[in-house]
Symmetry: C2
Subunit: 596 residues, 2 copies
C-alpha cells in the first residue's frame, strides 16, 4: 500500500521564493495566477492526486489493459471516471489558449500540476500528456478549422490524442518510415501502414481519439524530407462536430511490457484510413518536433515524479520499520528495535534521492518558465536566448532526469530489503514505471548524441557559452556573501569541469567526431549536474534569505542541509565525467563489431 | 527471444592462464580435474545451459509458480525434468564430498558452472543453489546420521533444501525471531511459527524438501544468542531412508514479486512440525553463517550471470538492428541503414558491461580458489589468510557485484530502445531477475555495514592491511615491465585511494562510528573497484604473456582493450568514493528523523 502527498510547499517555495514568479504578473496568463490563485490550483491538484488518481495506481498496474476480441481496448477500472474529472476540471488545458477552451495559464504551473498527477498515477497521466502534446502540434501547425474542430473536445477530455511515429523497423531512424498517404482530391488522404508503440492508441475512456500520424505522401522524397503529418480521428467528425463513421484504424494488439500497465501500448493498423494534412507537405518532422520537445521535458518530469513518490514511501517505511539498533545508544530504547532511519546509510540513501528530486523539480520549472516568458515576449533577443537554452537543456533534462530518476526509484526500493521486491509493497512498480522514461521519446543515448552532435556546435556553441556565462555571472554576484561561499565554490568547480569538457569535445570533434561522441553521455551528465547544482545554489540562497528574516521552519533548515549534501557528495561527479570525456574514443571506436 | 552462449573460453583463460590452476594438481579434488577434464566439464555444463535450461527461462517467468487450493505449489513446465537432469548429472554435488555422493571437485569449478546455469535460468538454478547451501550447513554442523540421511538424496536432486530465517517482523534483525522449538524428550523438537521469503519452500519438483529452520528453544536466552538450527523435512524419513508421513509444515501463500517468477517465494507455516537440532543448542547463528557466506558469494555470482546474458543479447541486437547511419562514412552503404553497433555510445555502453563482467568472473573464481586451497591446507597461516580475505571480500562481492550487475543489466536493456521494455524481447526479465540480488541475503547497505563496522576493524585491520600489501607487492613485481606500466600506474592510484579511505574511516571511527558508517557504501564500492582493477591487471598481464609468445587471437586483443577501458574509465571512480567518504556524516547524521 503506497501513499502520496503532493509537494505543494516545495512547489510554492520554488515559484514564490526561488523563481519569484510574481515579478511576471504583468504578463498574460501570469496575471491570472497570482500567489493565492496558484496556491489554490496546486492545492486542488494535490487533492485530486492524493484522493482520486493515486488510489487507482496499484490496481491499474495489476489489472492492466485488455484488448478484447472485437479489437476494443479496456483500460483499468476507475480510469475512465478519473480522466473525465481531469478534463472537466480544466486540468488538461490548464495552459492551453482560452480561445480553444483552455485556461490560458503559464505552462510552468501546468508542469507543476503534471508532476503531481504523474507521481500519483503515471499511466493515467500519460493519456493527458499525449493529448496535450497533440494539441500543441495542432496549435502550431494545424489550420484554424482543425484547431476549432479538435482542440476544445481534447481539452475537455471528451476526446484524447496520440502521437504515431514508430514503425517496427523504424524507431529513431524516422526516415525509414513506410506508412503511406494517398491524396484523394477532396483535401483528404488515405493513410495505410502499421504504427507501433502508440501509447493510448485505443481505449474505452473517451468517445474519440485524435491520432497524429507521420506518413509519406506518394511520390515524396526519400528519408525524413518526405514525411508529412496527418490528423486521423478514430471516428470521423461531421461538419456540425458530431461523431460520424468509424475510421479504418484498428488496434492489432497491445504490448506486454515491464510497466505502465495502465496505459495500453498499441499496434495500430491503418487500412486506407481517412486523414488530413497538418501543416505543409513533407514538413511533418517540424510539426513532430513541437510534440517531441514538449514530450522530452515531460518525460524528464515523469522520472522525477516516480522518484518523488518512491522517496516518500521509502522514507515513511524507514521511519516505521523496526529492525536492529542504532550504533551507539539505542534511539528508541522502549521499542523492541530502532526504526531503520537511525542508520547513516539509510539516511545517506534518502538524502541522495531527495537532493536529486528537489533540484530536478527546480530545473523543470526554471526551464519551463523561460519558455513561458519567451512565448509572451516580442523581444527577438529574449526569444533567441530561450530557444538556445531549451535546445541545449531539453535533451539534458530528458536524459539526466530519467537516468537519475530511475536510479533513485531503485535506491528507494532498496530501503525495504526483500520486502521491496514484493508487488504489494508498491516500490517495485515505481521502478518498473520509471524504467520506460530512459527508453522512449528517444533513448538516452540519442539525447546525448543530439546534445553533443547537434545542440552543442549549433551557432558556434552560442548556447553553451550563454549558459556558462550565466553561471559565471551568478557565481560572481553571490561569491562575496560569506554564507554562500562554499556553495559558489562548489558550483565554480563544477562549472570549470564543464568548460574544460566543452573545450575537450571541441578539440576531439576537429579530429574525429566519433572521439567526441564517445564522451556524449558523460557530457550530458556533466552538464546536467552543473544545471542541478545551479538550481541548488539558487535554492540555498533563497532559503538563507528567508531564514535571515526570521523564518526558522524545519522545511528551510532541511532544504539548506539537503543542498549542502548535493554539493558535497553528488556535484563532484563532474570530475569523473570530465576524466572520461578526456579519454576520448580509445578502446571504443577501433574495435571490430565482431569483438562485441 | 533470448539466447545464451556460455563463456567457456573466458573461464578456461581464467582457470588456465590467470589463476594457473594446474599448479594445484597435487591437491585432492584438483588432481581429478586437470585441464582436459575441466574443459570437458565446462563444455558439458555449457551444453546443458544453452540447450536445456535457457529455453525454459522466459516461459518460467511468464507462467510463474502456482499455489494450488490444496497448498501444493506447481513450478513452471519443464523445471521438474531439468532439475532432475542437474541432480542425475552430478551437478548439484560437483564440489561436495564423495563420501555423501558428491563429485569432490574444487568449488571454483562449481562456481564457474553455477554462473552458466544461473545465466541460463536463474530461477531454476536457485533450487540447486539453496540445496547446496543446506548441504553445506549440514556438512559442517550436522551429525553423521543427519549427513547420511539427507545429503546423498539432496545431491542427487531427489530432495531439495531450503533456508528458513526471515519472519514478518524479523529480517536483518534475527534476534527478534519468534519461531519456537519445544523439546519432545525423544531427541526431536516441535517447531511452531511462520517463516517468510522461503525460496523454493514448496514445490512439486522433488519428492521431499529438507528445510533448515532457525528457531528459539523454549527458555533460551533472548536475542540471537538463543537461536538454534533445526532440520525439518517436509516428509518425515523412516529409519530405512524411505519416506514417511507428511510433516506439519505447509505453504500459506506465495509472493507476487518483481521477478524470479520461476522460483516460488513461500510463506511457510510450521504447526508443531517435527524437527531435529543441527549442531548445538543456541548456536544456530554459527551454522547459519556457513550457509550465508556461501549464499552471499552465490548472490554476487547471480548478478554477474544476469549481466552476462544481458550483455550477450544486447550485443547481438546492436549488431543486427539497422537504424540510422554512422557519423562519417556509412559503415554498410549497401544496407538501408547501419547497425547501431557503429555508434560510439553503444560501444561505450557494451564495453562498460563487459569490463565489469569479465573482472567480476575473475574475482569470484580468484576468491573461491583461495577458500578451496585453504580448505585443503593444514597450514594455519594459509587458513587464517584465506579467512581474512574472504571475510573482507565476501560482503564486497555481494554488494558491489549485485549493484553493478543490476546496473549492467539496465544498460543492456537500454540498447534496445523502446523494444527493451517489451516482455518478449527478454531484456527486461534480466533486469527484474537481477534486481533481487541487491535485496536478499542482506540488502547491500547491510553488506557495507558488515564490511565497515565488523570486517574492517577486526584484528586491528589485519585483513585490509594484508589485501593492500598483496596489491603493493603485485604492483612492485610488475611495474618494471613497460607493457604493464600504465596498468600498474592506474592500479596504484586506485589502491592509494583505498589506503586513504581506510585511514579516513579509522579516524572517523575514533570520533563517532556513525561518521565512518556514513561512508560505508562508498567504501564498499571503492574496495570493490580496486579488487576488480586487480583482476584486470592480472588478466592483462596473462593476455600479454600469451600474445608475446605468438597467440594473436581476437579474444586476447579484445581482452587487453576491454581491460584498458576499465582502467581508463571505470577504475577512476575510486577518487569520487574517497571524496564522499571524507565528507563523513555531515548533512546525514544530525537531521531529525522527521525531516525525511
Amino acid at each position: 500500500m503506497t501513499t502520496y502527498r503532493a509537494p505543494v510547499r516545495d512547489m510554492n517555495f520554488l515559484l514564490d521564493d526561488v523563481l519569484k514568479i510574481d515579478r511576471l504578473n504583468n504578463l498574460p496568463g501570469f496575471s491570472e495566477a497570482p500567489r493565492d490563485v496558484r496556491n489554490a490550483i496546486l492545492s486542488e491538484a494535490a487533492r485530486l492526486s492524493e484522493e482520486v488518481l493515486h488510489p487507482l495506481n496499484a490496481r491499474g498496474d495489476i489489472d492492466g489493459c485488455t484488448r478484447n476480441s472485437d479489437a476494443t481496448v479496456s483500460v483499468p477500472k476507475g480510469f475512465r471516471e478519473a480522466f473525465a474529472q481531469l478534463g472537466e476540471g480544466g486540468w488538461i488545458g490548464l495552459s492551453a489558449p482560452t480561445a480553444y477552451g483552455g485556461q490560458g495559464l503559464p505552462n510552468t504551473l501546468s508542469l507543476a500540476v503534471g508532476e503531481m498527477f504523474s507521481s500519483a498515477n503515471m499511466a493515467l497521466e500519460m493519456f493527458s500528456g499525449l493529448t496535450r502534446g497533440a494539441v500543441a502540434a495542432l496549435l502550431v501547425h494545424g489550420s484554424e478549422e482543425q484547431k476549432q474542430r479538435y482542440i476544445p473536445k481534447m481539452l475537455s477530455g471528451q476526446w484524447a490524442g496520440t502521437m504515431n511515429l514508430t514503425e517496427p523497423h523504424s524507431g529513431t531512424d524516422l526516415g525509414m518510415m513506410r506508412t503511406k498517404a494517398a491524396e484523394q482530391g477532396d483535401g483528404s488522404y488515405r493513410i495505410t501502414g502499421t504504427k507501433i508503440f502508440i501509447s493510448g492508441g485505443e481505449q474505452d475512456m473517451t468517445e474519440n481519439i485524435v491520432h497524429l500520424v507521420l506518413a509519406r505522401i506518394e511520390g515524396a522524397p526519400a528519408g525524413i524530407k518526405g514525411i508529412s503529418l496527418f490528423v486521423v480521428p478514430k471516428r470521423l467528425v461531421n461538419e456540425d462536430g458530431s461523431l460520424g463513421d468509424k475510421n479504418a484504424v484498428s488496434c492489432g494488439s497491445i504490448e506486454h511490457k515491464m510497466g505502465i500497465h495502465g496505459n495500453p501500448t498499441c499496434v495500430l493498423n491503418y487500412e486506407a484510413a481517412i486523414g488530413w494534412l497538418v501543416g505543409r507537405e513533407n514538413k511533418g518532422m517540424e510539426a513532430m518536433f513541437v510534440m517531441m520537445n514538449g514530450a522530452r521535458m515531460g518525460t524528464g518530469l515523469q522520472a522525477l515524479s516516480q522518484s518523488e513518490i518512491a522517496y516518500q514511501n521509502a522514507a515513511n517505511y524507514a521511519k516505521e520499520r523496526l529492525q536492529g539498533r542504532a550504533i551507539g545508544p539505542a534511539a528508541y530504547p522502549d521499542k523492541p528495535a530502532d526504526p531503520i532511519i537511525v542508520h547513516p546509510d539509510v539516511r545517506r540513501t534518502l538524502q541522495g534521492i531527495r537532493a536529486f528530486n528537489e533540484a530536478a523539480r527546480a530545473l523543470v520549472l526554471f526551464s519551463t518558465l523561460r519558455s513561458d516568458v519567451a512565448r509572451r515576449s516580442d523581444d527577438p533577443a529574449v526569444i533567441e536566448a530561450a530557444d538556445d537554452y531549451l535546445g541545449l537543456l531539453t535533451p539534458v533534462i530528458k536524459g539526466v532526469l530519467t537516468d537519475k530518476g530511475f536510479a533513485s526509484a531503485v535506491s528507494a526500493q532498496q530501503m525495504y530489503g526483500g520486502h521491496g521486491y514484493i508487488v504489494e509493497t508498491g516500490a517495485e512498480q515505481f521502478v518498473r514505471d520509471a524504467r520506460i522514461t530512459m527508453l522512449y521519446e528517444g533513448a538516452n543515448g540519442i539525447q546525448a548524441l543530439d546534445l553533443v552532435a547537434r545542440k552543442l556546435p549549433r551557432h558556434n556553441g552560442r548556447a553553451i557559452r550563454a549558459f556558462l556565462d550565466e553561471m559565471d555571472r551568478f557565481i560572481e554576484e553571490n561569491a562575496g556573501q560569506t554564507s554562500l561561499a562554499a556553495t559558489m565554490s562548489a558550483l565554480r568547480d563544477a562549472s570549470s569541469d564543464l568548460k574544460n569538457a566543452t573545450a575537450s569535445l571541441t578539440q576531439f570533434a576537429m579530429k574525429d567526431p566519433n572521439e567526441a561522441i564517445a564522451g556524449s553521455t558523460d557530457y550530458m551528465h556533466l552538464l546536467g549536474l552543473v544545471a542541478l547544482g545551479y538550481m541548488w545554489a539558487m535554492m540555498i540562497k533563497a532559503a538563507q534569505e528567508k531564514i535571515a528574516v526570521g523564518d526558522t521552519s524545519d522545511y528551510l533548515t532541511a532544504k539548506v542541509s539537503t543542498g549542502a549534501f548535493f554539493l558535497d557528495r553528488i556535484l563532484p561527479e563532474t570530475a569523473l565525467h570530465l576524466r572520461r570525456i578526456r579519454a576520448g574514443g580509445k578502446n571504443i571506436i577501433d574495435l571490430p563489431a565482431e569483438a562485441f
